[in-house]
């Protein structure tokens, strides 16, 4: 057993936020209250050098707290992965460095993990936000659902939990934490949600800047592209390509008919270009889908694409079976 540590709480910080020091204090007192089977890991992204120096001073000599500092700015997912690499607990809770939830959100996450989940996403109840903000949040989660097929209430919530076995399978993709549950769900892990109380100190209005909103929308697009098209590339590409090619061939047929039977000139008609363009680009779209399928067929078809949660057997099968087999052969 890894030093008797049961729960690792991972405070990850990839953006400088004013309230991180208060959150740190509340988490320190949380793990001290719970005793030595809890540990706290604080991970700071590379550009937060000043914060690292301050925290180093604050945390010196505390045996329950580990401080990790990345060497360069590498984003949210890399920050979380760095923390997971040193986490020793069987259950790991990632805690956001901005005021979304308080420490009373940790027990519901742990309960959901104990109930059999591999990965838990918290969703806040009793939020104080404005109607506009709630609408924006609902639209964002709806967009995720529509594009990736995975439904979550509150993907913007930063408190997640996972088993240590899952932490080793965390995909190194993207730089946003919200990618993790979606990708893990696609891998066959059991991803569930847990209701957590929203922070009492959450500021009333925290809106994303237009730039952040744009980045996030691009993230979602990239993710849905990855999730949708990597498994069965020929379905979308083949459909689009075949339709383009067929329209082009139809146009070609019309043009040839008009040239031969109606004696219209062909050479000076831009319609001819359109027809050729449709056929050639349609074929190339199909080809790209075929290349994708070829890649999967030749390289990934042996991948085990299911994950067994548990097994139950009736009474011993093999003994009864071998007895019967002996009877029949003997």
């Amino acid at each position: 057993m890894s030093g008797g540590v049961r729960v690792s709480i991972l405070l990850f910080c990839s953006q400088s936020a004013g309230s991180v020091a208060e959150i740190l204090e509340s988490l320190i007192s949380y793990v001290h209250d719970r005793g030595p089977d809890h540990e706290l890991i604080v991970v700071l992204d590379g550009h937060l050098v000043g914060l690292y120096a301050r925290f180093q001073e604050r945390l010196a000599g505390d045996g329950q707290v580990t401080l990790v500092g990345l060497h360069a700015q590498q984003g949210q997912v890399a920050t979380i992965r760095a923390g997971l690499a040193v986490a020793r607990g069987q259950a790991i809770v990632t805690f956001p460095s901005y005021p979304q939830v308080d420490t009373d959100a940790i027990p519901p996450i742990l309960e959901a993990l104990a109930a059999g989940a591999d990965y838990v996403v918290g969703y806040r109840v009793g939020r104080q936000g404005s109607p506009f903000k709630r609408l924006a949040s609902r639209m964002f989660n709806g967009l995720i659902h529509a594009t990736t097929g995975v439904a979550f209430h509150d993907l913007a919530c930063g408190i997640h939990g996972m088993r240590s076995s899952v932490s080793r399978a965390i995909p190194n993709y993207g730089d946003n934490q919200l990618f993790l549950p979606i990708l893990l769900a696609r891998e066959g892990f059991r991803v569930t949600e847990a209701a957590v109380p929203a922070s009492r100190s959450e500021p009333g209005l925290h809106l994303f800047s237009p730039a952040a909103l744009g980045r996030r929308a691009l993230d979602v697009l990239a993710l849905s592209y990855l999730v949708r098209f990597t498994q069965k590339p020929l379905r979308p590409f083949g459909a689009v390509g075949v339709v383009l090619t067929l329209i082009g061939l139809l146009l070609c047929a019309v043009l040839v008919y008009q040239r031969i039977f109606l004696h219209q000139s062909l050479a000076d008609r831009p319609m001819l270009l359109l027809a050729l363009l449709l056929v050639t680009s349609g074929i190339q779209v199909v080809i790209l889908g075929f290349l994708g399928e070829l890649l999967i067929y030749l390289h990934f078809r042996d991948q085990v694409n299911y994950r067994v949660q548990e097994e139950v057997r009736g009474e011993v099968i093999s003994d009864a079976a071998s007895n019967e087999a002996e009877l029949r052969h003997g």
């Binding site: 069965k232 067929y297 030749l298 085990v304 694409n305």
Partner: protein
């Protein structure tokens, strides 16, 4: 790789993927027991719960003590039918593997007849729902169309590939890798590989519990998957050939259009009369070079594919019956492979 030792003393593995079938499961298990226990064959029932949310797993766990043959597997999340079947196949140990749907529309009483037919010397025996108890437009018609098209493309000879009730020789089945939604294509894949396939008429019952998990849009997906299947099975070992086949007509067209544009050029009076054919030539040439370039990509993808794989895969060369029992010979990328027990190498098509 297939481990011969896993082919233990069990004759039949019944593999049933279930998704939200808590009402059907008790009757299903009873009916399988009723069908198989009088026959004298040993068997196991592998039920794969594909992430059900209606308490199917609790039903299975509760029934396990009363059903000594049951081996229930719960997947961590809902993965779809192909991964669920793979989980069942990977856990199966029987010399014969029988699959059926968990919704009671297949009658387990048909299993012994399928297995008997298999023992006559086939690798796969499929059920044939001659009298289907389903809605005509949304269920039967798509199925008939899909079967026709897939017969045309793959050369499958059976009538009802959509029937879930099928019996397979375990060695052959466990040598197949399924991904995507390819559980529908086990028969065409195996038949292209030389497997002998037979069919037996089976009963088909109307749905008693629950609702169907599929709709009409499935036909479109199956069509796309058929295209995939056709391409990868025929060209995955020499993809450049597919691209050359495609490049040939484009090349011919390029030459024709080039010659024609030269003719137009010689008699052109206005600039636009020249521009359109010239643009056509450029377009076709770009397309030709793109096709050839993609062909080289495809060839590299094939060359870099891993040689070792989890499963044996290949064409079935022969099944032989020797003093040590029976075995199946497969031809695959690394030569002839004996799957199962040792036998003399039979002469067969190469």
């Amino acid at each position: 790789m297939v481990e011969p030792s896993r082919e233990s003393d069990i004759d039949i593995s019944v593999v049933v993927p279930v998704f939200n079938e808590s009402e059907s499961i008790p009757r299903l298990l009873d009916e399988i027991d009723a069908a198989l226990s009088p026959g004298g064959r040993s068997y196991e029932i592998i039920v794969v719960d594909d992430g059900s949310t209606d308490g199917s797993w609790e039903v299975l766990a509760r029934l396990a003590p009363a059903h000594p043959r049951l081996h229930a597997i719960r997947l961590a999340s809902n993965r779809g039918q192909t991964p669920a079947l793979m989980a069942g196949f990977d856990a199966s140990r029987g010399r014969t593997v029988v699959t059926l749907d968990g919704d009671l529309q297949n009658d387990p009483a048909d299993i012994p007849r399928l297995v008997d037919k298999l023992d006559e010397g086939f690798e796969i025996v499929s059920g044939w729902r001659r009298q289907r108890q389903d809605k005509m437009i949304s269920r039967r018609l798509p199925s008939i169309v899909a079967n026709r098209i897939s017969r045309l493309i793959t050369g499958v000879t059976i009538h009802d590939n959509g029937c879930a009730l099928k019996a397979y020789r375990g060695q052959v089945l466990r040598a197949v890798s399924l991904y995507s939604d390819f559980h529908r294509f086990i028969v065409p894949l195996a038949q292209m590989g030389g497997a002998r396939v037979a069919e037996v008429e089976t009963h088909h019952r109307a749905r008693c519990f629950g609702t169907s998990k599929y709709g009409l849009e499935r036909t479109v997906k199956v069509a796309a998957d058929l295209l995939t299947l056709y391409m990868v099975t025929r060209y995955s070992q020499h993809p450049l050939r597919w691209f050359l086949n495609l490049a040939f007509p484009v090349g011919v067209l390029t030459v024709i259009v080039t010659v024609w544009s030269l003719v137009v050029w010689s008699s052109a009076t206005e600039a636009t009369q020249l521009l359109v054919p010239l643009a056509g030539v450029v377009l076709l040439m770009q397309s030709l070079f793109a096709i050839l370039g993609y062909g080289l990509f495809a060839e590299r993808i094939r060359q870099l594919a891993p040689r070792r794989s989890r499963r044996v895969r290949g064409r079935i060369l022969a099944t032989s019956q020797g003093p040590d029992g029976e075995a199946t010979l497969l031809i695959h990328e690394q030569g002839v492979q004996n799957v199962g027990l040792p036998v003399r190498i039979a002469s067969g098509p190469s």
